[in-house]
């Protein structure tokens, strides 16, 4: 308080505090003089507690660092090495050597790690006023994302209204292209907004974002939406295609060997044929007794439109008919790839023709007749 203060004092009040200390409050008389009276600005209890916590944590970190340093030098001396060049890796090696452990679980073995540094930034200023306008909700960044999205949906609605008022309909360019990108998963979204999310909050947020992305006017907000989307990884990687060769007659052919279960099939496809199929040198398609197996072999030809255009020469052995048919189908599909264009190849990939079928017979278990089947119950 300065000397001017005494002139403008109108009344003073005594307030007793829980500490037993007393405070005096003043009320000023006029506006013109008010600025002359000053109060001491205080740091809020919340900020004080935060500063305290940070200080405590820093002290703890310093102590932990000192302890680690002592231990490191001590280990270096025991191992007879130079403490100045003794690194964290050397520490681990020394501990493994000095304290050998027969425990299999790695986390149960003795270890000595350098202290991790961690600092949480303050969420409010010196007067205790939080920085974020949704601080009191407890999930400020999640709710802010929802808030921002809804705000943009409202804007998009207004834009749509404008277009409708003019008597037009929204065109395709007004909507954002959603094919080349997809939504980020929960973990990535959490990293983007820098906050942990509950499952329910995540679902709600994604629903809101989805409704903005599907809006006919979403193109105006693509820069906002791309923060929460990622490019689609192309499924079809660079395929290794079997090469087209020429035989003695001058006909080009492709050869491929593939397997399914324990059956192995080698297929030779000859171009400019009539659709002749030879299996193991002497049989035709009737080599397979059941219709399903025959269909399996014809399916890749039908899919690519190569029926009656190429000749097939299949050599197959091992396992039963369905496994042999599966192996033959896979080999046929692979042998067809160099004979068709890129788009058709992608379609074949999506249809699952070029994927290895990893299913195999389940092993037999002891005490069971097969993999699962029990022995017949005999009454004793």
């Amino acid at each position: 308080m300065n000397s001017l203060a005494s002139n403008v004092l109108r009344c003073s009040m005594r307030v007793s505090l829980p500490h037993g200390k007393q405070a005096v409050a003043y009320m000023s008389k006029s506006i013109t003089d008010n600025v002359s009276i000053r109060k001491r600005k205080t740091i809020s209890k919340a900020m004080r507690s935060y500063i305290d916590r940070v200080k405590q944590f820093e002290e703890g970190t310093v102590q932990a660092k000192e302890e680690y340093e002592t231990g490191r030098r001590f280990l270096a001396n025991i191992m007879g090495e130079d403490p100045a060049t003794f690194s964290a890796e050397d520490v681990n090696r020394a501990i493994e050597y000095l304290l050998p452990s027969g425990l299999f679980e790695k986390t149960a073995r003795p270890e000595m790690l350098p202290p991790v540094e961690y600092k949480q930034s303050a969420k409010f200023d010196n007067t205790g006023r939080p920085f974020h306008f949704l601080f009191y909700t407890g999930f400020p960044h999640t709710y802010e994302l929802q808030h921002e999205t809804v705000k943009r949906i409202n804007k998009a609605d207004a834009l749509l209204d404008l277009i409708h008022k003019k008597g037009h309909t929204p065109e395709k360019e007004h909507q954002m292209d959603l094919v080349s990108t997809e939504w980020k998963n929960k973990k990535e979204i959490q990293e983007t907004i820098n906050e942990c999310m509950k499952d329910s909050h995540f679902e709600r947020t994604m629903e809101t974002l989805e409704s903005l992305a599907r809006h006919p006017m979403s193109a105006s907000f693509s820069s906002f939406l791309t923060n929460y989307r990622k490019p689609v990884i192309k499924q079809v990687a660079e395929m290794k295609l079997p090469s087209i060769q020429l035989d003695a007659d001058g006909r080009s052919f492709v050869e491929a060997t593939r397997r399914r279960k324990h059956a192995v099939a080698t297929v030779v496809i000859r171009t400019s044929g009539t659709g002749k199929i030879t299996i193991n040198g002497e049989h035709d398609i009737l080599y397979f007794k059941d219709v399903q197996a025959r269909e399996q072999i014809l399916y890749p030809l039908q899919f690519t439109g190569m029926l009656e255009k190429v000749d097939l020469d299949i050599t197959v052995e091992g396992n039963g008919s369905s496994a042999q048919a599966g192996a033959a189908r896979y080999a046929t599909a692979v042998a067809l790839t160099p004979l068709v264009n890129e788009d058709k190849r992608n379609e074949m990939q999506i249809a699952g023709l070029l994927n290895y079928d990893r299913r195999e017979a389940e092993r037999k278990k002891t005490g069971k007749r097969g993999a699962r089947r029990s022995y017949t119950w005999l009454k004793r």
């Binding site: 005096v24 409050a25 506006i31 008010n34 109060k39 919340a46 939080p130 949704l134 009191y136 909700t137």
Partner: protein, 293 residues
């Protein structure tokens, strides 16, 4: 009947809240000395604590008590008129069967089973509320907008963001105010004023924040509709709390009031800084004079 002392003090607090006029007096006076109390508490704390970084600096704050001598220091009372309230459909209440007994004093009449508010009364209460909001903004108080209105949530949050204050229009976790330390997992400052554009929660019950604010003696401004109870509210404003146009009006009015309070604060802080600078200059010149001597 014997009453535990703590319970008695709590009950008396609530009772004092109920009598709105008395509470208003308390809060207007509280504004004057709360700051002084804070100062002395901080001084007491400073003696015990040992912060190297905060000990040396003496921060200054503005003195604002003179503003209480004026009836309408910020001119916010002129913002609100019965005509304006009527245009924004504030006079519509709920069905007469749902009328809360506490709201009878604010009712003008009932027309085709619909409660109609007396807008002269509503206007008076709204002006009072705007005035107190501006005063609290001037004193750098934290103002929290709380409502559970899904169709107006975005509007209310935007309002809070635009006037640099806070909003909570989502699921209310129990103890958000009363048990703030464990809910936020740290020591936090509670709001100094809570504004309810609607006191109803999503299930047609009273919003839990009303009770939490009452328990902590945090002043509250609330728009109370004819089916809501005004007892726990410090500054109730009778009016329609469902119509978007009415909510828009409330948001605009409070935004303007808070903006005026903050503008005054900025002005005073600038003056204070200027004064401190000139004082410092004088001190420096005196020192240099001494050195020359």
């Amino acid at each position: 009947m014997a009453m535990p002392s703590t319970l008695f003090s709590f009950a008396s607090r609530i009772l004092s809240l109920r009598s709105t006029h008395a509470t208003r007096m308390i809060h207007s006076v509280r504004g004057c000395f709360a700051s002084a109390v804070e100062t002395s508490t901080a001084a007491a704390n400073e003696e015990t604590s040992s912060f190297a970084d905060t000990e040396g600096t003496v921060l200054q704050d503005i003195e604002v008590d003179d503003t209480l001598n004026h009836k309408d220091f910020f001119g916010v009372r002129k913002l609100c008129t019965p005509q304006l309230l009527f245009e924004h459909k504030v006079h519509y209440g709920h069905k007469a069967t749902a009328l809360d007994p506490g709201m009878k004093q604010f009712v003008y009449g009932i027309r085709s089973n619909q409660v109609i508010f007396d807008l002269d009364i509503s206007n008076y209460h709204m002006q009072e509320a705007l005035n107190i909001a501006a005063h609290i903004a001037l004193r750098d108080g934290i103002i929290l907008f709380v409502a559970r209105l899904p169709h107006c949530a975005n509007l209310i949050e935007s309002t809070a963001k635009e006037c640099g204050e806070f909003a909570h229009t989502r699921t209310w976790r129990m103890g958000t105010l009363t048990d703030i330390k464990s809910v936020q997992k740290m020591e936090c400052r509670t709001p100094d004023l809570v504004i309810f554009p609607s006191t109803q929660s999503e299930f047609g019950k009273e919003h839990p924040a009303v009770h939490e604010a009452a328990k902590l003696n945090i002043p509250t401004i609330a728009i109370v509709d004819s089916n809501c109870c005004p007892d726990m509210i410090t500054y109730p404003v009778p009016g329609n709390d469902d119509t978007p146009s009415a909510i828009q009006l409330y948001c605009d009015l409070f935004k303007e009031a808070i903006a005026r309070g903050k503008k005054e604060r900025v002005k005073r802080v600038a003056l204070l800084e200027q004064e401190i600078a000139t004082e410092e200059q004088q001190r420096q010149s005196k020192l240099s004079w001494k050195v020359v001597k």
